[in-house]
């Protein structure tokens, strides 16, 4: 019984949140890695573009809610998601036309692109705060739980409850679908292959008659989809606040780099590595320990390795450790 209770506590506070968070990071990191693979720069505007995508989705959600449109028990945000993706894709293509295309034409160094993307980041940052404000926004509706803690306790008779939030369930399911479609797209379709060809060897792709502008445009569209989905899921699961998306930039980049920049499979693995490290290191293990250890050994403290304030430091440490031993990431990524 104690063991089962420990397992439930572990699932409730570590496994489920980490898997959900990992899925969100993986989707974000996939975007970073695609941009790095195709356009060959680290896009610093990623976090704020995520905020933009989520913001557009929220605006549509509010609109739908005001019209009484609903897909109960699922959150209305899912209905608004495609609209968010379309608007974000248009914004990204517009950004590419006005900013990045110029630097591609003059064959600028990657660092110039990175600096340009920082400029884009600040603008995006401002735009989002200008439109929706810097504060918390609520847009989640529909059923809040798939499994409620109390129902679980009643059904199983365990003293520990297991709560499985709808947002977590949706996050996990959506991430699986999105990743499956993305990999099918990259590996099986001609468009995906031309993207991979472009990432493998740009010169050769050009000399094979592949239109670079089209590859770039398709990349931005896919990135817009990934980023809007990731941003909306994160907002549903936690809360929407523009600044948290800017902060997400660090774990997202850590995920992409740990997995191997430019490698989509690595981005997913990296997302989960970072998420699990962050959650396990900042979790107070007392509850689980109390169930598992004999009474005499029960801890008096919280058994928390680090305060949650330090959770962003965890990504950094993981990043450094992995890069020390595998400089190209867990999966072989591209080197610059």
């Amino acid at each position: 019984m104690d063991f089962l209770n420990a397992l439930v506590a572990l699932s409730n506070f570590v496994l489920i949140p980490a898997i959900a968070y990992g899925s969100q990071l993986a989707l974000g990191a996939l975007g970073v890695t695609l941009i790095y693979g195709i356009l060959r720069f680290s896009n610093f505007a990623h976090g704020d573009t995520m905020a933009f995508g989520a913001m557009v989705t929220i605006l549509f959600t509010w609109w739908f809610q005001s019209m009484g449109l609903s897909i109960h028990p699922l959150p209305t945000a899912l209905l608004a998601l495609p609209f968010g993706i379309v608007v974000t894709a248009m914004l990204l293509i517009l950004t590419d036309r006005t900013v990045y295309r110029f630097y591609r034409r003059v064959k600028a160094k990657p660092i110039v692109f990175v600096m340009a993307s920082m400029g884009v980041m600040f603008i995006m940052n401002g735009v989002v705060r200008f439109i929706i404000g810097p504060g918390d926004q609520r847009f989640a509706d529909g059923e809040r739980f798939i499994i409620k803690a109390r129902d679980f306790k009643n059904a199983t008779g365990l003293s520990e409850g297991l709560a499985f939030k709808t947002s977590q369930g949706i996050t996990i399911v959506t991430a699986i679908i999105v990743v499956a479609v993305l990999f099918w797209f990259l590996n099986r379709t001609r468009t995906g292959k031309s993207m991979r060809a472009f990432s493998d060897n740009e010169d050769l792709a050009l000399l094979s008659g592949i239109n670079p502008e089209r590859v770039v445009m398709i990349t931005w569209i896919i990135v817009a989809a990934l980023i809007t989905i990731a941003g909306t899921l994160y907002g549903l699961d936690k809360t929407f606040k523009p600044f948290t998306y800017f902060q997400l930039l660090l774990p997202i980049f850590a995920s992409a780099i740990v997995g191997g920049l430019g490698n989509p499979l690595g981005a997913i693995a990296g997302g989960f590595v970072i998420a699990f490290s962050e959650v396990t290191i900042t979790y107070a293990w007392k509850k689980v320990a109390v169930y598992l250890l004999p009474e005499s050994l029960e801890p008096t403290g919280l058994v928390q390795l680090m305060s949650t304030d330090y959770k962003f430091a965890v990504s950094f440490v993981i990043l450094i450790v992995v890069l020390l031993f595998k400089p190209t990431g867990l999966f072989k990524g591209q080197s610059v």
């Binding site: 468009t191 060809a197 008659g209």
Partner: protein, 259 residues
């Protein structure tokens, strides 16, 4: 016919191509020789649109193609290969070849989802074509290997195969023979000759191997210091004093005149 008129390509103060003027006749196999650093590869890059010329004009069949990007030149039938073989390392040899005629309907996002029938037909035709090319080059056995894992010589053949995936009008080969053994070199030479005779391809070949040049090239152009030094049949070139001085060497005499 490609006409190159007074093309310059300068990198800072360095004049890699310094006023090259030459004409490439249709259906010829032109050999381009010259010492290292003569500007042969740079000239290729300028013609193929990888580099923009500092000045000068390039026309193809009377049409100005100066400074067009590579993928547009490709669709006009102008192809090139690289001195160091390039490949899409993560794809199989067959997929490498099938990538070639860029701009298929499968590359449009819309068609990926809503034009599946058309794409399937195109892919089938491409696959048949790729298999035919692999057969022609006697490398059918590596069609399912990843291109990153095959040998250097096989990569060279794959490069040549890439040019055979479309009806190329003119192909620029940059040292196809470098790092390739004799037998394979002659396979490549035969393939070039057959493509020239059977399909009417025009070739421009950079090569250092004189046997190879002798076997397939006419005329031969010798470049040095960014300029065209001499042009003619191989015999004429071999007899040319300046060429001997700059490139072929006498083997005995060690003439030192002003360059």
């Amino acid at each position: 016919m490609i006409v190159i008129e007074d093309v310059h390509k300068h990198f800072g103060g360095f004049r890699a191509v310094d006023g090259a003027t030459l004409t490439i006749q249709d259906q010829s196999i032109t050999g381009l020789i010259g010492p290292n650093g003569a500007g042969k590869t740079t000239l290729f890059n300028v013609i193929a649109g990888v580099l923009k010329p500092t000045s000068g004009r390039i026309t193809m069949a009377g049409e100005d193609i100066t400074g067009l990007p590579p993928h547009e030149l490709f669709h006009k039938g102008l192809l090139r290969t690289f001195q160091i073989a390039h490949e899409f390392g993560s794809m199989t040899c067959r997929e490498n070849l099938m990538m070639v005629p860029g701009g298929q309907s499968g590359e449009r996002l819309w068609d990926t989802w809503f034009g599946r029938k058309r794409i399937a037909d195109e892919e089938r035709a491409l696959k048949a074509k790729a298999d035919e090319v692999l057969e022609f080059l006697t490398i059918s056995h590596i069609s399912n290997l990843r291109a990153g894992e095959i040998s250097g010589g096989q990569k060279k053949l794959l490069e040549l195969g890439r040019t055979m995936m479309v009806d190329a009008k003119i192909v620029f080969l940059d040292e196809v023979g470098a790092g390739v053994n004799r037998t394979l070199l002659y396979t490549i030479a035969d393939a070039i000759k057959r493509l020239n005779e059977e399909r009417g391809y025009t070739f421009v070949v950079i090569e250092h191997d004189m046997d190879f040049i002798e076997k397939i090239c006419d005329p031969v152009i010798c470049m040095a210091e960014g300029k065209v030094l001499a042009e003619g049949t191989l015999a004429e070139i071999k007899a040319n004093e300046q060429v001997i001085e700059a490139y072929l060497g006498t083997g005995l005499k060690n003439k030192k005149e002003d360059a």
